[in-house]
């Protein structure tokens, strides 16, 4: 098969976006949406085909054209598909396709539906560039592009200022991370260049990075990780993700659960050879990952908005992925990316279904008892919740347990403990959500109750497909004592053969058992507080200081505002109102005034009197003559 096929994978969604941009209005909402969905579907078909063909060759490359050529430094617009990219491709295009279908239903009544699909296709294009790029610069182009689309989509309903503010927040916080990323790229190019190698190709980098000193590698990886912190919402740059829930729910599902936020994890996996050489950075990554997981879970415990719970849950699960990266278990991290994409997308789309059914209500305190009215949504939600909690034989069980096992067996006891507690909290808050939304009495107001209905097929079919994935995708990465991991085998060409066992099978079983115990405890506690009939009303009155801190997300946004935003705004105001008019304008105007002053003085010479002018000639002539006189003597 021709490697030219590769470029079509990102190109078709781009074309879809452009066609909708020019002709979408004329085509009408339904046709525009169908075109966008078909474009992503075509990319998915191509991705499947590539996936099927991949084992024979190991890697496909497609050089489109030479982008930068400066001396011996060359960066190409080129795509590559290896085992890692193939997996990501399936996730992005497959889940992207399902979400496009879902959006046909969810956004069906929205007047701006065409614009939505333009942005969504554009996002798919940039995400594909990110994962298919064969060099770090092209990855960064995709990185920036998805940030842009995220901004556009979060602020989609821009008539409400809060949405645009959320979009701005996402973009600006990402930008802070991107600064670290860019500086990391610069240092990498410069340091390698000093050794005579000028390249950003992943293949070339892998061959040559050992030439750099450990200190340099630690610096570079640390800077790159700062970028990942922004994009993948880790401490301290996670604050944009909860606010990003202002966007439409399909956006939250696609971008802020399944694909864009995993870009940071993908980047570290892509550059695993670099990170593997910097144990200090890996330690930092692990600590931040675990801390983020714990921190976000504690906030999710008390949130009342259905999407906010899922948002903090996403931040928490991303923390797990980085914990795995920090342990050097890149395969496990990508495995969790893979399974998480399915169950988190399913949860978000399910919540969208609920919101859609209730006519826009998002407060869980005003829900309840929906399982009888929305059975399909309910059952898929149950499956996904089981998956995220880590109930045995669901996808989440295998991937999360693998991460916890890797953490434990690498000797990071404290981090493992934190991860364990977080797993318990995850189970608790997810089941709390399940019970509050679907069980018990319906607490919705009458207007919403009248509106209540199960979602149309175009929305429930993706839910069902994702729910199936939420169970069975995990079976690809089972531990040794079950039926072994096809996952590690598939990714072996990239990450090397699976690491040997650090511990015995019995230790592994013990760890798994502990995890299950904690999870069960979490579920039971949730049942006691929210699931038992009559229990929910009692919870309204339970308020302690920890509850308040958690509910207000530890006042992180307020702290950031006080520490960073206000001084910066004050500085900007100072420059705008004092430095600009007085110093800069003053300098320019001052120069003009000085010239004017001088000219006013010299003007006096122009008396209009010819005799005065003659006198001036004479003075000049005298000067010359005096000079010659001086020369002579």
């Amino acid at each position: 098969m021709s490697t030219d096929l590769l470029r079509w994978i990102p190109l078709i969604p781009l074309l879809g976006s452009v066609i909708n941009l020019f002709f979408g209005r004329a085509m009408g909402k339904q046709r525009a949406g169908a075109l966008a969905s078909a474009a992503v579907g075509a990319s998915f078909a191509l991705a499947c085909y590539l996936f099927w063909q991949l084992p024979a060759t190991g890697i496909f490359r497609d050089l489109v054209y030479t982008w930068i050529q400066s001396g011996s430094f060359q960066v190409n617009l080129a795509f590559q598909v290896d085992a890692l990219t193939a997996v990501m491709l399936l996730v992005v295009t497959g889940i992207g396709f399902l979400i496009h279908l879902y959006s046909l239903g969810y956004m069906g009544h929205d007047a701006d539906m065409v614009r939505f699909f333009i942005y969504l296709n554009l996002f798919i294009f940039f995400m594909l560039v990110l994962i298919m790029g064969d060099n770090l610069l092209l990855l960064f182009v995709g990185w920036e592009g998805v940030g842009l689309c995220s901004y556009l989509l979060i602020g989609f309903w821009y008539h409400d200022d809060n949405n645009t503010i959320a979009g701005n927040k996402a973009f600006i916080v990402n930008r802070i991370g991107d600064l670290g990323f860019i500086i990391g790229i610069f240092v990498l190019v410069a340091e390698l260049g000093r050794q005579g190698i000028w390249t950003l190709d992943f293949g070339e980098l892998q061959k040559h990075v050992k030439m750099l000193s450990p200190g340099t590698i630690t610096l570079i990886t640390f800077l790159l990780f700062i970028g990942a912190t922004g994009k993948s919402a880790q401490l301290p740059l996670f604050v944009w993700l909860p606010d990003a829930m202002a966007g439409p729910t399909p956006v939250s599902a696609l971008i802020h659960a399944a694909t864009m936020v995993t870009a940071g994890v993908y980047m570290t996996a892509r550059l695993h050879f670099l990170f593997a050489l910097a144990p200090a950075t890996l330690a930092v990554i692990a600590v931040i990952g675990a801390a983020t997981a714990f921190f976000a879970a504690t906030i999710a415990l008390t949130q009342n908005d259905i999407k906010k719970v899922l948002a903090y849950s996403t931040v928490s699960q991303l923390g797990y992925m980085f914990l795995a990266v920090g342990m050097g278990a890149f395969g496990a991290a990508i495995f969790h990316v893979f399974t998480h994409a399915f169950f988190k997308a399913c949860l978000f789309l399910g919540s969208g279904s609920v919101i859609h059914a209730l006519g826009g209500e998002q407060d869980m305190r005003k829900m309840g008892g929906l399982k009888t009215h929305m059975p399909k949504t309910y059952w898929t939600y149950v499956v996904a919740t089981l998956a995220i909690a880590g109930v045995p034989f669901t996808a989440g069980f295998f991937s999360k347990d693998l991460i916890l096992w890797q953490t434990f067996s690498h000797g990071a006891g404290i981090l493992w403990g934190v991860g364990l507690l977080t797993a318990g909290m995850t189970a608790f808050y997810m089941f709390r959500q399940l019970f509050m939304v679907f069980h018990g009495e319906c607490r919705a107001d009458d207007h919403a109750k009248a509106h209540l209905h199960e979602s149309p097929a175009v929305m429930t079919w993706p839910l069902m497909i994702l729910a199936v994935g939420a169970i069975f995708t995990g079976w690809l990465g089972a531990p040794e004592y079950l039926w072994g991991s096809r996952w590690d085998h598939w990714l072996a060409p990239i990450f090397g053969p699976a690491a040997e066992h650090h511990g015995t099978v019995s230790t592994e079983l013990l760890v798994t058992a502990l995890t299950l115990a904690v999870v069960a405890a979490g579920i039971y506690l949730a049942y006691l507080m929210y699931g038992k009939p009559g229990a929910q009303t009692a919870q309204q009155t339970a308020n302690g200081i920890f509850y308040d801190i958690s509910l207000n997300k530890y006042y992180v946004d307020e702290i950031y505002d006080f520490v960073f935003v206000r001084p910066f705004t004050a500085l900007a105001t100072f420059f705008a109102s004092i430095v600009d008019p007085w110093v800069i304008d003053g300098a320019v105007n001052g120069m003009a005034a000085t010239v004017r002053g001088f000219s006013t003085v010299w003007r006096g010479l122009q008396t209009g009197n010819v005799q005065h002018y003659a006198a001036m000639f004479l003075v000049g002539a005298l000067a010359l003559l005096a000079y010659y006189l001086g020369q002579l003597s």
Binding site: A615, L618, V619, A621, L622, L625, L632, S633
Partner: protein, 164 residues
């Protein structure tokens, strides 16, 4: 002191006095007359310097034609009032001129100038010599000078015409 020097000093003194009169007399006609006398004195100096032809030309053209023209115009315009004097400016101008003289005089006192005149032939300064030079070496400037005079005539007529 021999005759030549005496004549020279006399002529020089008279010339300087005449120039001062030109500049400092208040009546314009008086100034014109002073200028005529200055020109005549210069003509005599020319003759003493063995340039008889030029001396005669000086009298005929300068003192005769140009000064007559000046007098015509003075009579035509008939300026009535006498000028007022402005002390400050007079002082300043006089000082500048003194400075000019003060600079020029040392300049011309350089030592590599011939003190004695070159022995001259009888023909030196005569019309023949002048004519030979004029019509062979300097024929082009001669022709151009004629054109210049023509242009001057036309220009003067145009400028001074009474507008109807």
């Amino acid at each position: 002191m021999d005759t030549a020097s005496l004549i020279f000093y006399l002529l020089a003194t008279l010339l300087v006095i005449a120039s001062l009169l030109v500049v400092f007399l208040r009546n314009v006609v008086h100034c014109a007359l002073a200028l005529v006398s200055a020109l005549l004195l210069i003509a005599v100096l020319f003759v003493t310097l063995q340039a008889p032809m030029v001396g005669v030309l000086q009298v005929m053209v300068y003192a005769g034609a140009i000064m007559v023209l000046f007098l015509f115009v003075i009579m035509l315009l008939n300026p009535a009032a006498l000028e007022r004097q402005r002390g400050l400016w007079w002082g300043f101008g006089a000082m500048l001129a003194l400075m000019l003289a003060g600079v020029l005089v040392p300049l011309v006192m350089t030592n590599d100038l011939p003190a004695d005149p070159v022995a001259a032939t009888e023909l030196f300064g005569s019309p023949e010599m002048l004519a030979k030079s004029l019509f062979s070496d300097f024929v082009l400037p001669f022709e151009i000078a004629s054109v210049l005079l023509l242009v001057a005539i036309i220009g003067a007529v145009v400028l001074a015409k009474r507008e109807n």
